[in-house]
Structures are given as C-alpha cells and as structure tokens.
C-alpha cells in the first residue's frame, strides 16, 4: 500500500526536532555563521535528541532499529533550522552509518558504542575531495595493500572537526573501488590543514586532510578482508543531503510567504500580485514533489532494494530545488533579501552547496 503518513512515533520525533530547529538553531544560526563557531551546548542538545542513537540497534549501544525513512524525516526537520549546525550535530553519523551498513560484526561491536553511548564527539568521515569532477563512486585517494594492512595516500577536503576528531573514517579507492578505513587522528603521515573558507556553512569548521603513506592494520578496513559494497553508503549520502536540502528550501519558502503578505507595493501586499504569488506557488510545488524522491529512496533502502538510482535522482532534484527556492526567496524579499539581517542570503549560499555536501550526513 502507498502511504505518505509518518507513524505516530515518527511524528513525535519530527515535532521535537522541528522545535529544536526553529527555537534553537534558527536563533543561533546568524551568530554562528558570522563567528564561525557553534556553541557546544547547542550541538549537545541536538545530539541528545537521539536521531542517530535511535537508528542504531541495542547491541551496538543504540536504542532503536535502523530506519532510513525516519532518518530523512529527522534530517529534513533539523536542516530546516540551520544547515551548518545540523551538519555539525549529524557529523558522527558519517562515521557510524557506514560501519552499520558495511562493517563486520566485530567492527560494529567495537566501533559504534563509543560514539553512540557518549556525549557528542567528533567521529567523522573524510570523504570529499577537492576536484571539480569528484563523486562518491570514484576516489582519488588511493589505498594500497601492504604486508600488514593498508597504506593510504591522498588529499581529503571538507572534513568537519578534523582538528579535534576522535577518529576518522577515510574513504579511498582500493583497486578502483571505493572502500573505507578507520584512521586514528595521530596516525603517522596524517596532516590536518588550515580551516576551509567556504561560500556558506561558515559555522561548521571543516578542514583539508592530507594522507601520506598512512599505514593502517588489516582490520581497519570496513567490512574486513572482503571490504564492503559502498552502494548503500553512497545512496544514504545522497538521499540524506537531499532531505536536508528540502528542509532548507522549506525554511526559505516559510520565510518568504509571510514577508510577501506584509510587504506592500502600490497599496497592496506583493503576495497579491501574480508575479510574486506564482513564484511562491512554484517554490511550494518543488518542495512538495522533490521531498517524495528522498522519501522513496530511503524507503527502498529500508526495503533492501537497490536505491542507487532513486537516491541519485533525489539528490539531483533536491539540489536544483534548494538553489531555485532559496534564490527565489531572496528575490521575493528584493533588496532586503541581499542584506545579512535576513537569513535568506545565507540559505541561498548554503543551497548552492547541496550537491557538494553529499556525504556530510548519513542516515
């Protein structure tokens, strides 16, 4: 049966996350953006909502059952507050979820509980690389088999909290196939570079990471000797950021709507003019239709179907949605939209990054 109705339990989670997003994140977003710092208490509050913990089974320290659908619902709700802070809260998910999807039983038991059972700590993935043609299926960072394990060499980028990371999950190509390796922050040959300066998400500290012949033992490879099939991780990376893009777009639409009803020109609200009203209608249509792509991809993964194409289409649609909707939100506000007193310019900058951010959160 088709159904577009979240369960009662999911509804409660969404409501709680939405409250946090609107009351806490939206309030803190501008200061965090301008100062480049997120108050740790704010991240901790988001972490305690337990989105990640609830999707990890009990035997690995969580208190739930994995559901990608629940994950995308929560991801959208959180990103509706502020994308950068939501990515900060969810940063450990990029470490835990690949282990959950592709790790051996021993890896799951050893690696997940220390993340899940503690307060928020920066366990993060090093995934993105700084090339125009980067994508998740093809890494330039190379892993080579050695006598006692693997050697990793390459450049990573956009690694959140790399300067204080507890541990890294580094993605690299082994014989041309994307694989992942646990790398401790003090590994020899690992260097954290200068903090990135980006177009948006200024609140989130991200760094380049250089690996020069970094040696890791055999059991550091995700999935053990046979490795793991990265398809689920790539799909999750795509539909999670897609859902967050929808949250971001929803925020922009919800901000532009009341503004358009208040702002008057020639004696009546601009929302009563078709040029504005039609833009708003189209924004709403894009949000509503593209949201369902992310839902469907997540549902397919939960059903153990091949979600690769669905997740890819979801990201394609959501990336376009985020750009067009945030751009139009700025347009509806006119000159005011360009001023940093309003959040729409920030959302527009963040919106452009969606396709680049794939892999910075996973559910």
């Amino acid at each position: 049966m088709y159904s577009f109705e979240p369960t009662e339990e999911q509804r409660m989670l969404i409501d709680a996350v939405e409250r946090y997003a609107v009351n806490d994140l939206r309030e803190a977003a501008r200061d965090a953006e301008e100062s480049g710092e997120i108050p740790r208490a704010l991240i901790e509050k988001g972490w305690e909502m337990g989105v990640l913990q609830a999707s990890v089974p009990e035997q690995y320290g969580g208190f739930g059952e994995h559901s990608a659908v629940t994950g995308v619902l929560a991801a959208e709700a959180m990103a509706c507050g502020d994308l950068a802070i939501a990515l900060a809260v969810m940063a450990p998910s990029t470490y835990v979820m690949p282990i959950l999807y592709g790790g051996t039983e021993a890896q799951k038991e050893a690696l997940i509980p220390p993340v899940i059972e503690a307060e928020w700590k920066p366990y993060v993935a090093a995934l993105t690389e700084s090339r125009f043609d980067f994508y998740l299926g093809e890494m330039s960072t190379i892993a080579k088999k050695t006598k006692s394990g693997y050697s990793l060499t390459g450049e990573k980028a956009y690694v959140p909290f790399a300067d204080q990371a507890e541990s890294f999950l580094v993605f690299a190509a082994l014989d041309g196939k994307t694989q992942a390796f646990i790398v401790p922050p003090d590994a020899e040959g690992l260097t954290v570079g200068e903090r990135d300066k980006l177009l948006g998400i200024h609140a989130l500290p991200t760094f380049p990471l250089t690996l020069e012949d970094v040696k890791v033992p055999t059991n550091a490879r995700l999935g053990g000797d046979d490795g793991f099939d990265p398809a689920s991780v790539i799909a999750s990376a795509q539909f999670t950021i897609a859902a967050m893009a929808i949250g971001l777009s929803k925020a922009a639409l919800d901000y532009a709507l009341p503004y358009a009803k208040e702002r008057e020109v020639w004696g009546k609200p601009i929302a009563q003019r078709q040029s504005i009203a039609f833009m708003l209608a189209e924004m709403a249509i894009e949000v509503e239709s593209n949201r369902l792509l992310a839902w469907e991809a997540a549902w397919m993964l939960d059903e153990e179907q091949d979600a690769s194409k669905a997740a890819y289409l979801a990201l394609t649609g959501a990336s376009d949605t985020a750009m067009s909707v945030t751009d139009r939100a700025v347009q509806v506000l006119g000159g005011h939209g360009y001023i940093r007193e309003h959040p729409v310019e920030l959302w527009m900058r963040n919106g452009r990054g969606i396709s680049t951010f794939a892999g910075m959160a996973m559910v």
Partner: protein
C-alpha cells in the same frame, strides 16, 4: 507508515493495462493521429467488454464498492495508474475510453447514490457508452464556473436549459456515437455568480441538445472536442446533480463546490495522463540513443556528464518527483482527505514536465525527432493539452498560491 509499495491489486491491473497499451494502442497510434475523428472502435469495444467482464461499469466506477471490507480504498490510485499507462499507449485513445470521462467523474463527485446508480449504470449495457463534462463557454474558460451563462430554468418537473458549451472532450461520442450523457454546468440564478451554478445531466437523444462543431486540433486527434448548443432543452427535474437542497437554497455554494470537488479527482488524473506521455517519450528517447550506442550513465556529477545524459537525468528526476506527488494526491482522495492543493500542484508540474520533456526530445533527436516516422513529434503535439485542460497551468498556480497564502479569490486573482 510511509510506504511506496504498490498494492497487489494495482500490480495486477498494471500488467493488463500495459498489455493493452502496447498491443492495442501503440500499433494504431499513428493511424488515428492521421485520421482525425475516426473512432478507434476496436479498442473501445475491447475496453467495454473487459470492464464488463471485470464486473465494473466504467473506469471510474470500478467494482470496489461491492467489496468494501477488503481494506482501504485504492480506486483513485488505481485510476492514476490506468491513466498513466493508457496515455503511455496513446493519450487520444485513452480519452476515448468508454465510461472513463469527466462526466462520470462529476456524477461521482456530486451525485446522490440514486443518481450515481441511474447514470453510471449506462456503462453496464450491451454497447459502450461515453460521458463528458461541459464547463467552458465561448466567452470564458479559466474563469469558470463563476461566469457560466448557460441557464437552467425550472418548469414544473423539468428544467429548461439554454446556452452554448465549447471544448467538450468526447462530447460527440457521448451524444451522437453512443447513448451517453454530458454533465452541463448551468446557472439557476444568473445574478448569483458562481453561487448559482449547478451540474445537470443531459442524456443523448434529448431534444434541443445539438453538437454543432467538431474542432481540429494540434494533437489528441482521436478524441473529439465539440461545441454543444442547448436550445430549450428539457430534462427531468432530478437530473440536477446532488441533493434537492442545492435547488432550494439559492445562495448555497454547493454547486460551485461540486465543480471543485470534481477537479480534485480529475486534475491528478490529467497529471497522470501527462506523465504517461512523458514516460513514453523518455523511454523511446533512451531506446533510440541506445541503438546509436549512447548509454546513459547514472550517478555522475553534472560536471562530467554529457549534455544528453544531463538532459535525460533531469527529465527522469522531474518525471519521478511529479509522479510521486500525483500518487500522493490520489492517495489523499482515497483516504477521503482534502487534496485540493496536491491536485493542483501535480497538475501544474505535470503540465510543465510533459511539455518540456517532449519539446526537448524532438530537439535532441534532431531530424529523427521532427520526423513523423517516429512518435516523438506526435507526443510533442499531444503533450500541450495537459497544460490547458482541467485548468491551465496558470489557474492551478493561482489555486496553489491562494492556498499557501491563505488568500480568497478576491485577495488574489
């Protein structure tokens, strides 16, 4: 619980519909495009016979009501699939489906149980019958039903209807080629504006009801589009759809709301039909490209895709997102929840998507796309109607905008 699992019952009908679309529609699609106003009787007879065999009467009124206890209703969702798949076959022929017209949808949305039985039982007869809905008049289309000029005056146990309707889909089949009916939107109080508008059923053979013109169109040529003139056309009193109170209370908005309730069902239906054409186009495009050795690679970043890959990935994204929204609109209808905004949303986007996809396809395939040897140019012509009928893209944008802004039509028009 969010789920995208196709119900088993729909899965079964999908297989049947696909067979019909592929074997009964596609082979004659070009023929009926080139022979405008010829009627695809083979398809029609087949559909009529098989609908009867399945115990239903008409596409819109399946046998589900007889088995109400079998869980939630899925009839609107199934209808979306039917519309999508048969439009994939041939949209003009889909519009020729007996018992599948908008007249039936209006009766379903606004009629009393007695009226539903009386009018929809036409479908169960020996011969196929058609139905149509007439709203547009020469002076106004999108402004309907507020500016209806066709009048209905009560005379004892009869109504006398006068006026002209245009752009009536399948009107000729309903009134001339079969013993069908047309739902006419007429006003019982011309002073009252849209509040005076009511739906009336005019059956084939009623004196004073004449088809006066058959249009020649850009596409959907196997479907007739006609003008109908009513001149002192007398119909029984109880052919006014809905309960008698809609007659007594002149100021009630029930008539208008009836028209709107009809659209809540028919707009997603049109969206689904549009998306059937879009899917057909994308599939043929990919097949033709594959023959030339061009295979679409999925998963790449835009910066490394070829232009054709990017076009097709974008088309597929648009198609899928709009289809899911259409299913959602129909799911809401099945759940008996309000779906007005979703109905207009999917209609807007489906109209845009099918027009864009078909126009791009002709461009991308160059001389092949432009040639009548292939169906791409036909679908380009068929597609455009979806951005026009059941409310243009602009009218539906207005409806969406009013809803999200919480504006009345006085505040935003």
């Amino acid at each position: 619980m969010i789920s995208f699992k196709m119900p088993e019952k729909i899965e079964q009908s999908v297989v049947i519909m696909e067979t019909i679309a592929e074997n009964m529609m596609r082979p004659v699609s070009r023929y009926f495009d080139e022979h405008e106003h010829e009627i695809p009787w083979d398809y029609i007879e087949f559909m009529h016979t098989s609908q009867k065999a399945m115990g239903g009467g008409g596409v819109l009124t399946d046998s589900e009501k007889k088995k109400k206890k079998e869980g939630p209703s899925i009839s609107f969702q199934r209808l979306a699939f039917t519309s999508e798949i048969l439009s994939w076959g041939d949209v003009g022929m889909w519009l020729c489906t007996p018992g599948g017209g908008l007249g039936g949808a209006a009766v379903n949305a606004t009629g009393t149980p007695e009226q539903k039985e009386r009018f929809l039982s036409h479908y169960r007869g020996e011969k196929p019958v058609f139905d149509a809905m007439a709203l547009t008049e020469p002076h106004a289309g999108s402004a309907m039903p507020a500016e209806v000029r066709m009048t209905a005056v009560r005379d004892g146990e009869e109504w006398i209807l006068n006026g002209e309707k245009i752009f009536v889909t399948a009107g000729n089949k309903a009134l001339v080629d079969s013993d069908g009916f047309v739902v006419m939107w007429a006003t019982i109080d011309p002073e009252a504006g849209r509040a005076g508008v009511r739906p009336f059923v005019v059956e084939a053979g009623t004196p004073g009801c004449t088809v006066t013109k058959m249009e020649h169109k850009l596409g959907i040529r196997s479907s007739d589009t006609v003008s109908i003139v009513l001149q002192d056309c007398r119909i029984p009193f109880d052919n006014i759809l809905g309960s008698p109170e809609v007659v007594k209370k002149k100021k009630t908005k029930k008539g208008f709301k009836g028209a709107m309730a009809t659209f809540d069902a028919t707009r997603p239906l049109v969206a689904a039909s549009a998306l059937g054409i879009a899917r057909a186009t994308i599939e043929l495009l990919k097949d033709m490209l594959l023959e030339q050795g061009v295979e679409i690679r999925y998963g790449l970043p835009r910066s490394t895709m070829t232009n054709i890959e990017r076009e097709i990935v974008d088309m597929e994204t648009l198609l899928r997102s709009t289809w899911l929204l259409t299913v959602k609109a129909m799911w809401l209808a099945d759940e008996r929840k309000s779906n007005t905004i979703e109905a207009s949303m999917c209609k807007v986007k489906a109209g845009d998507v099918v027009v864009k996809v078909t126009q791009r396809a002709v461009e991308l395939m160059g001389p092949l796309g432009y040639s009548r040897e292939y169906l791409l140019e036909k679908w380009f012509r068929d597609a455009k109607i979806n951005d026009l009928y059941e409310g243009t893209g602009q009218i539906n944008r207005l409806i969406v905008a009013r809803r999200i802004l919480e504006y009345s039509r006085h505040e935003l028009s």
